[in-house]
């Protein structure tokens, strides 16, 4: 019998998870709870898309959590004085710019991605905390606050706005990855950078844009979350980096580059997202949740390695 593809295996895991949670957890299998999970996971999904892209080129982006904090603060500062659109644009530009800075150091200066993004993580965190003294930025004028809140907390026909944004981002990135040469070049660079270079692919350009996209998607996630908390929080991104890496790895993206998919990332995000939701509704402690997620990540990587060895 033909072995199931990784994405189909993940789908089976997700379906089994949903079945078990529906049986054992009261109020789990409701439209409202599913929309709740989709809204929550849409935020981490944005970061996961960005992380997937950089992992595809055999890189990593450790600065995502810090970018969230800086975007949160800068966007709210702009929003308070100049309105919602100014706030959103400021946030997007901030995240993308940091991404491009990462991309420059990784692609042009050829500094290890781990080192580059570790450095930018500390720098961005330090800048954000210095500028705010660790304090949140609140007191958004009411006329802006309601409109801004719609981004992260609003609904259209009972569908959460973050989920709608996530769908649009999926379609957009899908076109980039699968329908145009740029996407094939991303996979080529991650699979074998030397060979890609010999084929005439501009490695710096690919990496520069990919890291910029990572910053851009991270900024979208940051704006959604900032809108939900209705304030600029310098430490808003704490813990989100490892959630995004975890989801992407569970979704089958290789840390070595060249392997990964949007569909796998969606599965990874949903498997972890529904698990957290179900465990909360079962009243299992945060630490148990961490143990289970850690085990899933190790198992996912182990499965991927086994599959590669069996080829």
């Amino acid at each position: 019998m033909k072995e199931l593809s990784l994405n189909n295996k993940l789908l089976v895991v997700l379906v089994i998870e949903l079945l078990l949670l529906s049986i054992f957890v009261g109020n789990f299998f409701t439209f409202s709870n599913f929309m709740n999970v989709f809204r929550q996971t849409s935020i981490i999904y944005m970061l996961a898309l960005g992380q997937m892209l950089v992992l595809l080129v055999a890189g990593i982006d450790l600065s995502q959590g810090s970018i969230v904090g800086m975007v949160s603060v800068f966007s709210v500062v702009a929003l308070k004085d100049f309105g919602v659109m100014a706030g959103i644009l400021t946030g997007l530009v901030t995240g993308t710019a940091i991404g491009f800075i990462n991309g420059f150091f990784v692609g042009k200066a050829r500094i290890q991605p781990f080192i580059t993004t570790l450095g930018t993580m500390y720098i961005i965190n330090g800048i954000t905390l210095s500028l705010t003294n660790g304090q949140p930025i609140f007191d958004i004028p009411l006329e802006y606050s309601k409109a801004f809140f719609f981004l992260g907390g609003g609904y259209i026909l009972n569908i959460p706005i973050p989920f709608i944004i996530a769908i649009l981002a999926t379609v957009g990135l899908g076109i980039v990855l699968y329908a145009v040469p740029f996407g094939r070049h991303i996979y080529a660079v991650g699979d074998n950078e030397e060979a890609a270079k010999l084929c005439g692919i501009n490695i710096f350009k690919i990496k520069f844009i990919v890291y910029g996209l990572s910053g851009f998607f991270t900024a979208i996630g940051a704006l959604m979350l900032t809108s939900r908390v209705n304030s600029g929080e310098p430490l808003l991104g704490e813990g989100m980096l490892f959630e995004s890496i975890g989801a992407v790895v569970v979704g089958g993206t290789s840390l070595m580059g060249g392997v990964g998919s949007i569909r796998g990332t969606i599965m990874g995000v949903l498997i972890i997202g529904f698990l957290v939701n179900g465990l909360d509704m079962m009243n299992l402690s945060t630490f148990i949740k961490d143990i289970i997620i850690g085990m899933i990540i190790i198992f996912a990587v182990y499965s991927a390695i086994q599959k590669k060895q069996n080829r």
């Binding site: 905390l129 949140p136 908390v229 808003l236 704490e238 813990g239 957290v276």
Partner: protein
């Protein structure tokens, strides 16, 4: 105890909402972290709710930094349709939309320990925060007889509670020209953070006479740093709020000089009682302020320990 609330008049904005429409018996206690202080509060909440016929369930976010996690917890508790939520928030502002959403869904929220900037919270059970900072400062100044150099371990960045304490303390210190605040640092509520920072500060400046700490865990770290530096007990005044077994040992040794002991078990019990009153339609106190009590090593065994000591521990 400041004002009474009447459940029948509680109207979170939609006149049709009633509390606990699903008639749940579960009340969630949402904490920012784990540790001795939170264990004490949880003991109080759990013991009281069980006596009153409710099922207590506890969640913690893993640290004051983890606001997103607390938001997730609140969202999931709304889906779980719990009867009520007692919330010790990681942030006074960031949780507001989630709190308001819970209230809209018929789940009353009591803000404990951290006052939220919304009128949708049904009741507050809190400490007199300004007074805490003021009293720690008063103790330090008294010990120094009005003159000396202080370093301040303020608390987590962005936490209004510790900021308010420090604002009050620094106002007190400012009244004494001979008191100099050499350095102030933000840090998480961990002993290890305080240990590292205090070691660095003591290396940088040998003329430290006192260390202001917002919380006993930081005082433990500071005291460990002082001990490791070979400085004798009682040489550097260290004062903080709250107590735990390790803090008490260091107090008895003389490395911590004074602790403003709270009654976290009492706080937990008060929150639980208030929540049950809200759910059963009785009159309740909209705001309750609890006090802390100063102890020094010479009379640490003379205080009533019911408010902070878990029986059997």
């Amino acid at each position: 105890m400041i004002a009474c609330g009447d459940t029948r008049k509680q109207n979170p904005g939609n006149g049709q909402i009633q509390w606990n429409p699903n008639d749940s018996k579960e009340i969630a206690y949402v904490l920012p972290n784990v540790g001795p202080y939170y264990d004490q509060k949880w003991y109080g909440v759990r013991d009281e709710l069980i006596k009153l016929g409710y099922t207590p369930i506890m969640y913690q976010a893993g640290g004051y930094k983890n606001t997103k996690r607390q938001i997730e917890i609140l969202d999931n508790l709304i889906q779980k349709k719990v009867a009520g939520i007692i919330l010790h928030a990681t942030s006074a502002d960031a949780l507001i939309p989630s709190v308001e959403n819970a209230v809209k869904n018929g789940i009353p929220i009591i803000a404990e320990n951290v006052r939220l900037h919304t009128d949708k919270v049904v009741a507050d059970v809190n400490l007199d925060i300004d007074r805490l900072g003021w009293e720690i400062a008063m103790f330090i100044v008294d010990q120094l007889e009005g003159e000396g150099n202080i370093i301040a371990l303020i608390g987590p960045p962005g936490l209004e509670f510790s900021d308010m304490m420090w604002t009050a303390a620094s106002k007190y210190f400012a009244q004494f020209p001979g008191i100099k605040v050499l350095k102030k640092e933000y840090l998480q509520a961990q002993a290890t953070d305080a240990l590292k920072i205090t070691e660095s500060l003591l290396s940088a400046d040998k003329n430290v006479d006192a260390i202001y700490c917002w919380y006993v865990q930081n005082a433990i770290g500071a005291a460990q740093a002082v001990k490791a530096a070979g400085i004798e007990p009682h040489k550097i005044i260290i004062a903080a709020k709250d107590i735990n077994p390790e803090g008490e040992d260091l107090l008895k040794e003389g490395y911590i000089t004074g602790l403003l002991v709270g009654t976290p078990i009492e706080m937990g019990r008060t929150s639980a009682q208030t929540m049950v009153k809200i759910l059963s339609g009785q009159k309740y106190d909209k705001e309750t302020l609890l006090n802390n009590y100063l102890i020094r090593s010479s009379y640490v065994n003379k205080i009533n320990r019911q408010g902070f000591e878990i029986p059997g521990k």
